[in-house]
């Protein structure tokens, strides 16, 4: 009998989403346990004492798997079904490289740029975001998804760019990733969020907007304080 799979997650987290998409694409049934990250459960802290973050995958009684992309690779290796990562070693290396680039060079500067007050620091982040998103835009030329015709590892590794950019820009009142400048990225975001397997584990847009709107002041204060300190 297959061992039970549980996923500890939290609302709106793109990292949790990556793990959910991987499980769904492999056809693995799972129980989702939602955390309140402002009041972390004993279950989460016991299974992820090092990072104390979600997602955490529990497969039977083996120790937990933590870190979203490691969970994706684990799901790819532990379960039968269509491969999530490419087969060719070079393509796999590319698939593993780009998520780090996206997080450090796109998501982070984007987050800083939308929430920071006007000034030199903000301009720097805007420039970096645009320059680095251009590299992603180039990778999407002529392709529906980063992985080709169907959703693959790099698409859900980049998922934050697909479903969070819009709600964040709306709440912050900014427009950094315009359709005119980044047509392929916008098309990709639309294609990704409409995919059947993906949309089943995406929070509705209105809920995301409401979530960010509720935290807006706190986020702006924290981001501006971070820049003052450095």
């Amino acid at each position: 009998m297959a061992k039970a799979v549980k996923l500890i997650g939290a609302f709106g987290s793109p990292f949790v989403h990556r793990a959910e998409v991987a499980l769904r694409l492999k056809g693995v049934p799972y129980e989702l346990i939602l955390e309140d990250l402002t009041n972390k459960s004993e279950l989460l802290l016991r299974h992820n004492p090092i990072h104390k973050t979600v997602p955490v995958l529990l497969h039977g009684d083996r120790p937990a798997i933590c870190e979203s992309l490691l969970i994706v690779e684990y799901v790819d290796e532990a379960f039968d079904g269509p491969p999530l990562l490419p087969i060719d070693p070079y393509d796999r290396a590319m698939a593993r490289f780009w998520p780090q680039f996206i997080e450090q060079k796109c998501s982070m500067p984007f987050w800083m740029a939308v929430w920071l007050d006007d000034g030199e620091a903000r301009e720097g982040f805007v420039r970096d975001t645009r320059a680095n998103l251009c590299l992603l835009e180039a990778r999407l030329q002529g392709k529906r998804f980063f992985a080709g015709d169907a959703v693959g590892y790099l698409d859900f590794a980049a998922c934050g760019l697909a479903h969070l950019l819009g709600p964040i820009e709306e709440v912050a009142g900014e427009s950094l990733v315009g359709a005119a400048e980044f047509p392929a990225l916008r098309r990709w975001a639309e294609a990704y969020t409409s995919d059947e397997a993906v949309s089943a584990c995406l929070p509705p847009r209105e809920q995301l907007v409401a979530n960010f709107a509720g935290k807006k002041d706190k986020i702006k204060m924290a981001v501006n304080a971070m820049v003052q300190r450095s």
């Binding site: 090092i50 120790p63 933590c66 490691l70 969970i71 290396a93 060079k105």
Partner: protein, 252 residues
Amino acid sequence: MAAAGAEASCGGEDEGLTLLGFWSSPYVLRVRFVLNLKGIPYKYVEEELFGDGTKSALLLASNPAHGGKVPVLLHHGRPVAESLVIAEYVDEAFPDRRPRLLPSASDPHERAAARFWAACVDQKLVPAWAPVFCGRTLEERVKAAGELVAVLEMFEGVLAGGRTEFFGGESAGLVDVALGGFIWWLRASEAMCGVKTIDPARTPLVAAWAERFSALDGVREMAPDMPTLLEYHQWTRARFGLPFLPLHQPPL
């Protein structure tokens, strides 16, 4: 230290590999360990990353997403960047070359554990190390070194649980290589601020592992010269406008 742009051939017949590196970079060392331990031949190009020298044409032509950083491994001209991505690539592209860096495909759980701890070196050890290197005062550096020891205690726990010679088991694996790149920088902490970060009294298993790993064929030859490493660190500090702090004891 090889002159910038200098090439060196390492090993036998050509596998079409070129590694762009920098002599003291722990990330570059990781890749050299992997290639050397597996006996895979490659050309090594020492990049001039600072000063008046220019980066090699190869590094500049490498994908702009790589940000001009080393290591970059070129395999028949195709670049791979990020040391742990490169390590897994080499492991998968040359599956017959031992040692394998990850446990077998029949144990996805152990493979996930190895990847987790390798990533932990970058997520926990590196941020703890930075203030030891860059601390503005001796007190700052000493405090940071104490926190770094706490991170190594985590890795002590991993070795204690595994009860093996290496993190990878009977032979070196991904975690050994990931942590191994930092051994000489960690040893340099004593001269920087008087604190032994690899301390046999606090982390006896890690200390024994460091001796064992750094003595391996393929690793030993890569050891940076300690006085040169310390001199380079003083130069880097000066370059970033950090206050000069004398070495705590004469370099070994």
